[in-house]
Structures are given as C-alpha cells and as structure tokens.
Symmetry: C2
C-alpha cells in the first residue's frame, strides 16, 4: 500500500525506517523501552541533555522551554492549565492563593476554581478529553451528550477559492472573523468568564483543511496581546515538517512569537513549548504519572536527526509542489467531482462533490493500493510521511486519477 | 536501590524483567515498536485476538468489553464520556439526537452538551485533565486556578484506627457518608445537573491511602443503581495485583458488578472495562489518534503471563503479610512517629507524625537505599512491584527501622 494518511498523520519518516530499527536493536536502549519512568519525579540521567539535543533543537522562535506529555490531548489540556495558572497569577499580582482560594479549589468552586475560558474557532479540533473537547467544534458526533465548559467559539474564515481570485472578499471575511473574536472576548469578560487564552490550528485539519491568510494569524496574535489573553498555536497535526517548515506557524512571520505551541503525532511524544512566564511557580502544578515517554523521545531525537541529514524539509517542498500541481490538474480534469485543491508542502487537501462521493473515492483508492483519509464534511486530506518523494507523489496521482476515472 | 515506590506504582514486575527483555529482543516485534498505529482506525492484524489473550483474560467479573487508552487520564475521561452518552441515551429513550441537539453540541451549549455531572469523593484522585480534575479532590495545588465543572464531591469515610477497636464509630461514619451521597444526588438533580455516574477508588491512594469497608462499597454500588447513575471503579493505582487480587474491588464481593473499571499504571497501557450497555451506538464517539499502544499492550500480555506462571498474586499475599506485620511492629516501637499502619497485600501505608517529618523520613530512607513515596498530608505509601519477596520486605523493614531510629 502507498500510505498517504500515515496513521492520521502520525508516522514521520515512514514505516520501519532503518535509523529507528537501529535504535531498537541497540542493546544499550533496551532498558529505556522496558522500564518506563515517572518522568516528572525521577527523570533518567541525562534527560535534560537529551531534550537539548532533541526537542529544544526545534523549539519555535521565542520559546525556550518545553514540557513533555504523552499525546495531543494531554498536551493541550496541560497547556490550558498553564495558561489558567498564568492568567490568575497575573490577575492577583502574585502566586500566593488566599486560604479561601485554596479551600474552594478542592471542592470545584470559585474563587479557587475560577470561571476562565479558552477561546477557540468553529471547525477547530484540539482533542477529545473534556477540556480539549470544549475547544473542539468539528462534528456533532464528537461532542454530543458530553458536558462542556461554556467557552466561546469564534467563526473561522470561510475563504473562497481560488484564493488569488477572491482576495478582497476573503480579506473582508477575515476581518469579520477577527471582529467577532474581539466581540466574544468582551462578551465573555462581561459574563465573568474572561478569555485567558486563544487556541488555534495553523490549518484546521480534522475540520476540513481550512486555511486563513498569514495576515489573519498575525492580527489574531495582536488581538490576544491587546486583551491580555495567551496565544496558543496547536501544531499537533501541522507540526513536524509536512508544511515544508518544521512548524506551520513559521510561515506567518510573527514578530511577536506565540506564547505556547503544542505538538504530538509526528513528534511521537506530546508536549508544548512555552515562554518563561508560563512556567508555574511551584512544582507538581503541571504533573502526571508518566509525563511523556523517554522511549518515544529517543525515537523522536532520531527522527529529527534524519530530517536534518536527509534534508527532508526540502524534500517536502519539492514533493508538495508535485502533489499540489497534480491536484490542480485533476480538479481541472474532473470539475464535477473535485474543487478547492489546496496545500502547504505535502500537507494538501481537496474537496469532493459530497460526503458520500468522498467516502466512495477513498474506498476505491484503497482498493487500488492507496490509503487516504477524509476530513471535514467532504474533503480528503493528504498526509504522506516526510520521506514521500516526487515519484511517490506521481504514483499517488496516477492511482488517484484512476480512481476518479472509475467514479 | 530497593524500590518500594516503583515509578508511582507503575512498574508491575520489577526492572528489566527477563521476560520483557525477551519481547524487546525478538526481531518479530521490532516493527510493533517502531510503527505505532492509529489503533481505532487501523488496528494491526490479530489485535482482537491479542486482547483476548491479554486484557480480556483479566476482565473484572461482569464486564466483557474493554476499550484501550494510553494513560490513566484518558481512561477516566473516556469512561466519563461513555457514561454521559449512556445516560443521555437512556434519558431520551434512543440515540438519535434532535437537530437542535446536534447543532448546539458543536457550540458547547445545551441540549447538545447537557449539564450532567460525575459524583466523586473528597480525597479522591482520578487524574489532572480538566474532566478528571473535576473529580479529583486531594491537594489545592493540583486544582488551584483551573476552571472546574460544578460537580458534587461527597465526603469519604474518615475511619478511626485500629479498625477492630472502632467498629461502631466507623460504621456510623460510613452511614453518614452514604447519606450525604444520596443527598448530593438529589441536590444536583434539582440543580439540573443530574449525577450520570459515581467514580471511586477502592483505596484512595494519592489522597492518603484511605480505606472504607467492603460493606461501604457494596452499599454505594446499590445507591448508584437506585438513582440510575453508572458505577465506575477507578483501579488505575489499585489494579494489577498489588492488593493480592488482580483488582482491588474483587475484595468487596459485589453481587451486582461495577459498570466500568478503569486501569493504567501497572497495566502499562490504559483503558476501561465496561458492560455492553456502555458501548456507544456509533463508531468514533469514543476515539482519538492512538487509543493506546500495541507495544505497551505486548508488554502487558507478557506481564500477565508472568503473574500467572510465577503465581505472583500468592507472592503478594505472603509479602504483604510480612510487610504489614513489620509495620505494626514499627508503629509499636515508634508510637511518637508512626500510626495507622494499614494495607491490603503489599499495597500498604503508614502515617507519620506530620508532613515535615514524613518528608525527612523519605529522604533518610532514600539515602539509605530505599525509594519511598508520600501520599496525603502525612502518609507514606508502599508500592513494591509484584516480584517483591519476603526477604525484600524484610530488608526494607530493617532499613526503614534504621531511618526511624535516626530521627
Ligand atoms: S491523555 Fe494523553 S496519553 Fe492519556
């Protein structure tokens, strides 16, 4: 099979990469796999050095600290917690709670458990545990029947394609959404549930591979700053190189860095990068049993080495070029079936006429040997590994063309 | 070092167990370690069979299904979600949402996101993601500044020791707590936030190794049934054999099984067992990218084999006997320092005069080569691996005695 979905975008450098097999076969590493430590309590010797060699070497601009976690959900959940702690510390001017705050926190009541909120976007996806789920707004089936925090959801720009043709309309749509963000911040402040942070994906992936302009994100960052809300970029799906840069939000060219960036999937472990001021004042405020997994971190460090040595970000740009051009051609050839081809690097997508046709097309492609995944209501998302080369892209396009011809 | 804490109770059969090393060195297993699948979407061939050999072989009485997860937090979060889905389906009499429910669910509003609650206990610990954290009531530092669901917390019995001496008082205390549970269920129903489920640990671990009688739990189970709330037993710390039975709640002798049992730590992966009626009606309602980890599951299956082959549950009973008797002796020898020695199997604890003395004692023991962990305000919890034998217990008691003599 030619895998263009890679376990929901979570296989960074393909299956059975020799560099990773070597890690596994090195007898020195055996005990790291067999004995998983409680990383927050008893980190293995040299773990800080390993983070410097690995995660810290790809820290987004302006963020010098990293907190490891085990998956995308605990990464976002704990990033939200760090935001709430930061926000309350800022509000009260120090980090020493009153006796009332301490007492009420244990019984789920204010002021110890304050009414704070995280603002997110319609179509956004940030995970499915109860905190994350309150910022996820993709499909009803993911949220139905589950209690939610009363947190605000702003509209995400609905851009018209091709982008070049609708520049003015799209700029207006983005302006409308940004105004709505500010309105919601004011409204939730008045409700007594101030927006402590804003969370957004650089490309809404699960929601349908929805894009906004780099300018939109820069302005959103400025709005967060203006209202004293933290700005959290969720790179769980976009991070790790598939957009042609290691972090998708690097494309924006922010002058003022994001406050936090969460990651998982292609990075094999989870976690978040953060500014110094988001370090809680006391140990154990952000904590759990495992706090990640040194075995996965070992793989990650090797993956980062392979990305550098094999120049995979350049590879992604070249392959992405072939893929996106191929998708443009296919949508010109099958205008009754396809529209809105879009992408950054190999992080590409295309819309299919309707949900039913989309699902049939994915099945047809699978039966011809290509694994694809859907997103949103009628999109297909392409998520090859970073080692996907031009000839793989060509092969994929040919088979996809055959599947389309069959429809 | 002699480890009597085992990475917060998460190392089941000691470090570098030969059976686990063998799994690692088997070339057939390499690719399971290197290629982590999206288990909910593309389970590896034979995965169901592997579950039958492994997890299902230790399913608690009455529960035939299991859902794998990756840690204790996502286990509880998803168990809560399955409870909410079950409860709403029961309320509306079917699982087809109205258009209004579908539409409101995506924007965090009722009726799609209903006001339901989970009842938990003071001193209970169920994790630190935002849903779990709303059922955790141990230390302020774990909850301070983080928004919480308005969910009820019932008192957990505060028993007097030695138990045999205070039977009448303790029975009264448990009665008081159970009455309070019923009052809270009625109160939260009136508030419009019905109690969809009750969650409890068989022994409150992080909260201080707090016990209640088996009778208390049986009555609590009946109360849950009476009010139509699901009964969830959190065995994240107690599960896996250290109480002398594989599941601590087996000690209760429930006629009517629990509805759900969550696990992680010593089981190396996470997840929950559940009754048929807690299976959501549609796929993807309980879902995330990884949904556990087949590599960890492979270790678990081997651990279960070792537990059976080496008769480790019997070993735990024997060692636990030595440990608890030793602790009784030490508390008789150092009555000014120690009290309330208690335990089931090797899952033992003792109280120290005060928090400061407790912390000093743990440090002293560590400097003499024994790793211990605290819990609650002034307790030490003992959490050896299942391979901890009588002579290890004796060694630990001797060193602990030396540390005490030094105080
Ligand atoms: S919540 Fe991330 S691994 Fe469990």
């Amino acid at each position: 099979m030619l895998d263009v979905y890679t376990q929901i975008a979570s296989i960074p450098i393909g299956y059975n990469h020799p560099a990773l097999m070597k890690i596994m076969m090195n007898p020195h590493n055996l005990s790291s796999f067999v004995n998983r430590p409680a990383l927050g309590m008893l980190p293995p010797r040299m773990f800080p050095e390993k983070l410097l060699d690995g995660l810290i070497s790809v820290a987004p601009k302006g963020l010098k600290r990293v907190q490891t976690m085990a998956c995308g959900s605990c990464s976002n959940e704990n990033a939200y917690k760090a935001i709430f702690i930061w926000y309350r510390t800022k509000q009260r001017g120090h980090s020493n709670p009153t006796p009332e705050e301490s007492a009420t926190s244990v019984i789920n009541q204010a002021p110890g458990c304050p009414d704070l909120s995280i603002l997110s976007f319609m179509g956004g996806f940030h995970g499915r545990t109860l905190g994350c789920l309150s910022t996820t707004h993709t499909k009803a089936i993911q949220k139905l029947d589950v209690p939610s925090f009363d947190w605000p959801a702003a509209p995400f720009p609905k851009l018209r394609y091709p982008l070049a043709q609708y520049e003015r309309e799209n700029a207006q749509e983005e302006k409308r959404c940004l105004e709505e963000v500010e309105d919601l911040i004011v409204k939730w402040e008045k409700k007594g549930k101030p927006v402590a942070g804003i969370v957004i994906e650089p490309i809404q992936a699960e929601g349908g591979d929805n894009y906004a302009s780099f300018d939109f994100f820069r302005k959103l960052r400025a709005i967060a700053k203006k209202h004293g809300s933290a700005f959290l970029v969720d790179e769980v799906q976009t991070g790790g190189g598939s957009t042609g840069l290691f972090w998708a939000h690097q494309h924006w060219g922010l002058d003022d860095p994001a406050d936090m960036v969460t990651f998982s999937k292609k990075l094999l472990i989870g976690g978040y990068f953060y500014k110094d001021e988001f370090e809680p004042d006391k140990p154990m405020r952000i904590f759990n049993t495992w706090m990640g997994d040194p075995a996965k971190n070992m793989f990650l460090t090797e993956v980062l080495k392979v990305i550098r040595e094999e120049n995979l970000l350049e590879q992604v740009k070249r392959t992405g070029h072939v893929m996106l051009n191929g998708l443009y051609e296919l949508q010109a050839r099958y205008p009754h079936l396809l529209s809105k081809a879009r992408g950054l690097g190999t992080f590409c997508a295309i819309d299919v006429k309707d949900e039913d046709t989309r699902n049939k097309l994915i099945l047809k492609a699978r039966n011809k040997g290509v694994v694809l995944g859907g997103c949103g209501n009628q999109s297909i998302r392409f998520r090859p590994a970073l080692v996907f080369k031009e000839h793989h892209a060509q092969l994929f396009l040919n088979i996809f063309n055959d599947a389309l011809a069959d429809m």
